[in-house]
Every structure is written in C-alpha cells, then in structure tokens.
C-alpha cells in the first residue's frame, strides 16, 4: 500500500495537473503578463507627463456606458505602430496614455473607425445626434442607434448620453495636452524606431495631412483643380452629386437646404447651401478644415478630385435671388457707418470676418467677401441671428430700413474670382 501511495505521486495524472495545468499556466502568466507589465511600468514612468489628469467622474461614467453597449467591439482605441493606422488617426497609442483605463478598451475589431484620437474631431451635437441615430449624420452608417440614451429625441440626451460624449471627447486628450503632440512630426517611440522600416515617413506625412479628420482653423487649403471647360464641368457636377448624396445629405438635405435628418439636433444648423453663393475657395476651406465650432467635420479623407467635384456641385445648388426693389433708406455712407459700428468688431472693417473679436469666436464670423447670402437669407439672419453662433438677432436694434440697407451693403462686399 505504501508503495502504491508513493507511486501515486508519480502517476501521470499528477504530471499533467502540476506541469501542464499549473506549471505552464504560471509560465505564460509570468512571461506574457507580469514581465511585459513591469517593462510597461518603466516605460510609463519614463514618458508620462507629470500632470496627466485622470478621467472626470462624468467621463468615467461615459466609459462605463461605452463598455456596456459594446462600443469597443466595432471601434478600437488603439492606433497601431504602422503607417496606415498613423496616417488615418495620428500618433500611435502609447502605454502611458492608457494608464487610467480600467479595464482596457483596446478592442480587436474595426467596423467603425478607431476612436483613440477622437477628442475634438467632431462637435458634441454631432456626437449626440450620431448616437441617437447614426444615419442622421452619416447616411451609409451601419452603426446601431442608442435611442434609450435619449428622451425620445436627439436633442434631449440623458445623463448617460452626455457622459458618453464627454468620454469620447476625452479620448486622446492626454496626448494633445502633453506636449508630445506634434502635427508634422509624431514623437518617435522606442517601438516606432524599431519598426522604422515599416513607417515610410515621406508618404506618411503626405497622407497624414490628407486623412486626419480633425476640424481646424485657418489651415492652408490645397488648390483643388476645378474644371475649366464645360465637359469637365458636367463630369465634376455628376461626381459631386454622387459624393454629396453619400456624405452630405444626412445633414444638408437632398436639396442642400440644410434640412437633412440630422439638422434638427445640430446647433448651429447645417448651412442652407441654396441661400448663398460661395467662392470656390470658401467651399474648399469648409471641406478641408471643416467649420470649427459647428458640426461640419473636415473632409480631408476624401481625395482632392472628389473635393473639387463637391465644390462645383455645392456652387450649383445656389438659387440666386434678385434684390427686391425697395426704396433706399440710408445713403451708402450711412450704411457703411452702420456696418462699422455694429458689425465690424466681429466681421472686420472690410467684412472679411476678421474683426478684433473674431479670433475668440467659433464658428468664425462670416467672410462677406467669400460668401454672398441671398437677400431673404440675410434679412432672416439680421432679424433672428444664427442660434448656436455668436451672431445675435438685430431686430430690436436696427430698423427695417437699416437692415434692408445692410443687406445691400453686405452683398456688395462679395468678391468672387474672375471665372466665378
């Protein structure tokens, strides 16, 4: 019996339990769990900004909602150290950026885009409308809506929805405020250096510019080659129509009237593209940089020929309207004074939207040299202002006649290029 008992120790079942079951488990736990963890801790300690802020209670709450609804199963939060990821979303995700993520939400599948650099890319209104029903702002989206985070309407979010958006706007923020963030030259990490061969930096820089979707102020806009003969023009118009239907109608509506599905819950409202003529430069700027402070995102991920086609198409949407034949109330000089007194602090002395106050306003005041509103549209704006922007209503301040005269004056500021 004793012998048998002693043999039992060496019975192969014990070998399996202790070596395969427990031993190899411990080995993997140490080699691929603890050891990398220690290395990561060193890297985090070395690279983390001293004042890196934890999530706020609201953001943490949003993070819980994000996890609960399974957002991480279609959206990664992990920009890999490869050129194509960096080109699309920016700098690769570093370990220190994730130090407050309990648990990690890296994800392993992308149906929608990565969200690690989502901070500030889109407006809160856009995010909320998108959460209520993604197809209100992205027509072809297959993302589910989350109507139970709202009180029946995209404009009435619950605390959960607001928290979730706060969390989305926090993604990537530590890097933005860290000083590491550099638009043109991402700080090389130890790992990026190791894989320098896989990061073709020259093409990277070019595409980085083209794809990252952050709305920006006043960044240089590339010169789109617009059609200069009727044949090219009709081709561009057709291409622009297709692109408009795919990307723009959700907010701007089928006719461009700014009455798409998403319009109701976006402030400021999407522009009525029929009610003003824009110079091609103005449209190109809106497409390339987005309209900072509004829900208009940047469209740099579309290629330049599509953007040029969109420019042509949007210009074609304008329905011109003759100035009504009203008696001129104020003299030209009086109107100019009126403008200088009431408008120029924001819109600038020459109406370029560059007044002293303009810098601190988002969206920026209109540049009347690049945008010529229809008389009815301008009258409406002067009466009611533009909700969601710094433009106040002037109904109480200016008389009807003064406003009529101002409309005339504003329209006269428009300076389209020769071919337009």
């Amino acid at each position: 019996m004793k012998t048998a008992n002693r043999h039992r120790v060496f019975n192969s079942v014990y070998l399996v339990i202790f070596v395969a079951g427990i031993g190899f488990f411990a080995l993997s736990f140490y080699l691929l769990g603890i050891l990398p963890g220690q290395e990561l801790q060193k890297e985090i300690d070395a690279r983390v900004p001293a004042d890196m802020a934890d999530y706020t209670a609201q953001e943490e709450r949003g993070r819980t909602v994000y996890g609960r609804e399974g957002c991480g199963y279609c959206h990664t939060q992990q920009v890999r150290f490869v050129a194509e990821d960096v080109a699309r979303w920016g700098a690769p995700t570093q370990a220190w950026e994730t130090r407050f993520d309990y648990p990690q939400l890296w994800g392993t599948r992308r149906i929608g885009p990565d969200l690690a650099r989502e901070s500030g890319v889109r407006s809160n209104d856009w995010q909320l409308t998108h959460l209520f029903n993604p197809r209100f702002v992205v027509g072809d989206s297959v993302m589910p809506g989350y109507p139970w985070l709202f009180d029946g309407d995209a404009a009435k979010p619950t605390a959960d929805a607001v928290s979730l958006v706060a969390y989305l706007q926090a993604l990537g923020r530590p890097r933005i405020v860290s000083g590491y963030h550099d638009e043109t030259a991402p700080a090389p990490s130890p790992m990026a250096a190791e894989h320098a061969d896989s990061m073709d930096t020259s093409t990277l820089a070019a595409r980085r510019q083209a794809i990252s979707a952050q709305a920006r102020l006043d960044a240089a806009v590339p010169q789109f080659s617009l059609p200069d003969n009727p044949e090219d023009y009709s081709v561009a118009l057709a291409a622009g129509k297709t692109a408009f239907e795919q990307n723009c109608t959700a907010c701007h509506g089928v006719t461009g009237a700014g009455d798409g599905l998403g319009a109701a819950s976006l402030l400021p409202r999407p522009a009525d593209l029929r009610a003003a003529s824009f110079t091609s430069g103005r449209i190109a700027d809106a497409l390339w940089n987005g309209r900072y402070g509004s829900s208009m995102p940047a469209w740099r991920d579309l290629d330049n020929s599509t953007l040029a086609a969109l420019t042509v198409y949007v210009q074609s949407l304008h329905t011109s309207q003759a100035l009504p034949e009203t008696a001129i109330g104020e003299s030209a000089v009086q109107t100019a004074t009126l403008f200088e007194k009431n408008c120029s602090s924001c819109h600038g002395a020459t109406g370029q939207g560059d007044g002293p106050a303009a810098r601190s306003l988002a969206p920026r005041p209109a540049n009347f040299q690049l945008k010529q509103g229809n008389p009815d549209y301008l009258e409406m704006v002067l009466r009611n202002g533009i909700p969601g922007t710094a433009m106040p209503p002037w109904e109480e301040v200016l008389t009807d006649q003064q406003r009529h005269s101002l409309v005339r004056y504003l329209r006269s500021l428009y300076q389209p290029s020769a071919q337009e």
């Binding site: 691929l32 399974g70 407050f100 309990y102 392993t108």
Partner: protein, 482 residues
C-alpha cells in the same frame, strides 16, 4: 508505426453490466441544454449579422442592440453550447476511461444547475439589464463579458468540474498511466480554472496596456486551453471507440499534448501585434504561434492516420464524420492562425472580418463539429434513447455548407476591408464595400440554423436504441506501452 502491445489488439467489447455507473440522465440534461443554447446563441449571432445589413432592425431595445447580442452570442456559445457539450461527453467518457463513476451524481446535478442557472442564464439576464454596479456590469472584454459576480460562479463551476472529472483519475490509481483523452481533459480543466480569473478579473484591476497583456492571454486561453483540450479529448476518444482500433501513435499524441500545453498559453499577445505591449512579448507570442501551428500538424496527422483505411466508416458513421471534419477544420484554422500571427499578415488582416472568419472556423468548424460528434456518439450509447441518423446526416451537411459559406464570405470581405484600410480611401468606403459580403454571411445562417434544428431532431426522433450492449473500448490496455 510502432506496434502497440498485444492487449490493444482486442479493444475489448464490454457489456454494459461491466461498465462503471454512467449517469445517462446527466448526459441527456447537458446535451439538451447544449443544443438549445446553441440554437439561441446562433439566433443572437444571426441578429448581430443582420444588424450590420439592416441597422434599424430591432433598434429600440437596449437588450436587443448589436453590442448586447454580441455578448450573448459569444458567451452563450462558450458556456452554454460548448461547456454543456463537453460535460455531457465527459459523463460518457470518464467512467469508461477511469473504470469508476464520476466523483458524484449529486455534484453532477449541482454542476448542471450552477452552470446553466447560476452562470449562463443570469449572465444573459445581466447583459440584457445592463446594470451599473461593478460586480453586476457587463465587462467589455473579449470572452469575458459576463459580469464579475457571474465569473465567481464560473470559477466555482470550473473547480467542481476538476473535482468531478479529474477526481476519478486521481482517486483511483490508474495502472500504467492514463489515456491521452484524460490528459487533455485533466490538463484543460485545471488550466482553465487558473486562466479564467486572469481574463475576467485582472484587467479590471490592472489598467490599459498592462491589463491588455492579460486580456490577450485569456482571449487565447479560452479557445486554446478550455475549448481545444476538451475537443481533442473527444476526438481522441471517439476515433478508437468507433473504429475499434487503437490510435496511430501514443508517442505522437504525447508529444502533441506537451507542445500544445507549452506553446498555446504563450500565444495570447499575438492579438495585440504592433500595439504598445512590449515588442519582445509580441514576438515571443508570434514565434509560439508558429510552433503551435507545427504542433497541430502533428496532432492532426496522428488523428487522421488513426482513421487511415476507415473511409467507409467515416462516411457511414455520422458522429465520426463530424469528428473527422472537425479535425480537418482544426488543421486549417491552426495553420491559418499561425499564418495571420505573422507581422506582415497581421498588419493587413487584423481588425477585419478575416479574423471573424477565423474565429468561426475555430469555434463553429473545429469545436462545434467535434462537440456535436461527441454528443451524437454518446447519445447513440444511451439505453433506449432515440436517435435519427438521417436527421443527423442532414444536420452535418447543412452545418458544413453554412460554415463554409460564412467562412469564405468573411475571409473575402475581410481582405477587401483590409486593403481599403491600407489605401487612402475614406473609412465609409470599407463599410459600403462590406455590405455585399455581410448579406452573403446573413444567408449562411439559413443552412446553419436548419442544421442545428435537425441536429436536435436527431436526438429526439428516430428509433430508440434496441439494446444497451454497445461495443465499448477499453483504453487502459492500449495505453500500457505508452
């Protein structure tokens, strides 16, 4: 091939009365639970797939949203279908291999209730409710979605599984060692008991990249050290039991076992290639993945060689055909896994539907086929149980067709997505391009669901088994020389 010892030449025909007690009611209970959950989980999977093509479908209910249903789908397959199927087969296999009953009948019913009514159903309920309490909230971690409270019950369940199925082999001295199925069974049960908390608890307390390293381990351990060992135990059991011949080589099966248990746990980090996890860990995992692929060639070779000259048997015996097909899928999916772990391939295919195709080839192809074969095999040997061979045969073909359609469309769609992502095309182009493939994937649900239903019919219709003295192998003798 090394000739096996003389005892193995007559894998003994044992009459039932000589068998240790077999708990047929537990086999039945776990089998029913398994097949019903398989169907429910597949419905959840179908809805998830449909929602990609019809995003407004059932869109107003949190419990029926894409994210929640995806949790239901994978956790249902893991616990409900595969867990129950494995346990059902263990109640058939363990008494025959250990030459004594499982640890305890009462414990058996306790495990059944705990697993289905303490883990699976409350887990699904909590996912649907979406509570906020940290212990009751859904965890957004792959293969670990059930709330942490449920995880406690799951760990208890795994502990009891060790007692119930490994216990008999520890308690009764096994002269001359134990058969390879037992190694896989015991090793897998013990490993899972330890690995489960790593994926389910550690990331909640260790943040970000450091937690992800542990998540990666569990993502792979769930498949590699819970599913795979049980499935291989079934395959190694059914082949000799059906063909009445010993397996090709005990030596190869030992080598296969030890390499698998050594390399599989080291694979995990290959889910985070090009991530912030230290590159040494990533590379180690990739190398281990390649070694694992080679090991699977060895295992599959051994299993398939055990079936050499048995084509007629494989064709006529539906459970064995399920197993054979599962082995083929095992070989394919493992070689694919090793391939896609390589950095250049991973760089392209990671995050795309290619990976979803891979995981379905593993869980639906490899694991489900062999588990289904296991249930059918055990069921045929339950006294007076009904068994409908024609329905089983149809189930086999329907599931095969459905799986292949799903695998091909997901793989092709994944490559389209991957190449669009590597181009400067806007993101939405990849979504629009995927729709055609997603529709085809939706269609693959028709044969799959029909197959699952027919599989169930195979268990509840047809003639009752006439007698109980079904031929039964004894493995101890075949093991003696190993």
């Amino acid at each position: 091939m090394r000739s096996l010892d003389s005892a193995s030449t007559g894998i003994a025909q044992r009459q039932l009365e000589y068998l240790p007690r077999t708990d047929y009611d537990l086999i039945k209970a776990h089998s029913y639970a398994a097949v019903i959950t398989l169907f429910l989980s597949a419905i959840a999977g179908l809805l998830v797939a449909l929602k990609l093509t019809l995003p407004e479908l059932l869109g107003n209910h949190a419990a029926l949203s894409w994210g929640r249903l995806r949790f239901d789908h994978t956790q249902g397959i893991f616990f409900g279908w595969l867990g129950n199927a494995f346990f059902a087969f263990c109640y058939h296999m363990v008494p025959r291999l250990a030459d004594r009953p499982v640890y305890s009948r009462k414990l058996g019913w306790g495990i059944f209730l705990l697993w289905n009514f303490g883990v699976l159903l409350p887990g699904w309920a909590l996912i649907s409710l979406g509570l906020d309490n940290q212990w009751l909230a859904v965890q957004s971690l792959e293969w670990a979605e059930f709330p942490m409270l449920i995880d406690l019950f799951a760990v208890l369940g795994l502990l009891l599984i060790c007692v119930q199925f490994a216990g008999p082999f520890v308690l009764k001295r096994q002269s001359g060692g134990v058969y390879i199925s037992v190694w896989y069974l015991v090793g897998g049960a013990v490993f899972s008991l330890l690995a489960y908390p790593v994926g389910n608890f550690v990331p909640a307390f260790i943040p970000g990249a450091q937690g992800a390293a542990f998540s990666g381990l569990w993502i792979h351990d769930a498949v590699g050290l819970f599913v795979t060992p049980f499935v291989l135990a079934i395959a190694y059991y059914i082949i000799p039991a059906t063909t009445q011949r010993p397996i090709y080589s005990h030596f190869l099966s030992m080598i296969g076992f030890w390499f698998l248990f050594f390399f599989y746990p080291l694979n995990g980090t290959h889910h985070y290639v090009y991530s912030a996890v230290p590159m040494d860990a990533q590379k180690a995992a990739i190398i281990a993945s390649v070694y694992l692929g080679m090991d699977v060639i060895l295992v599959a070779f051994n299993l398939l060689m055990s079936l050499r000259g048995q084509a007629a048997k494989v064709a006529s015996d539906v459970p064995l055909r399920f197993v054979w097909t599962g082995i083929i899928f095992y070989l394919l999916v493992s070689l694919q896994g090793a391939f896609q772990a390589l950095m250049p391939v991973n760089r392209l295919t990671h995050f795309s539907d290619w990976v979803i195709g891979h995981s379905h080839l593993a869980m639906l192809g490899f694991a489900t086929f062999i588990a289904a074969g296991g249930i059918a095999h055990a069921w045929q040997r339950i006294p007076h149980a009904r068994y409908n061979d024609a329905a089983m045969n149809w189930a086999f073909w329907l599931i095969t067709v459905g799986l292949l359609l799903m695998f091909v469309t997901l793989t092709a769609g994944g490559l389209v997505q991957a190449h669009l992502w590597a181009s400067p095309a806007p993101w939405m182009d990849s979504v629009r391009a995927s729709l055609a493939y997603w529709w085809l994937r939706d269609i693959s649900a028709v044969p799959l669901l029909a197959g699952f239903v027919l599989f169930f019919f195979g268990l509840i219709t047809g003639p009752r088994s006439a007698s109980c003295n079904v031929a039964d192998p004894r493995f101890h003798s075949a093991m003696a020389g190993a």
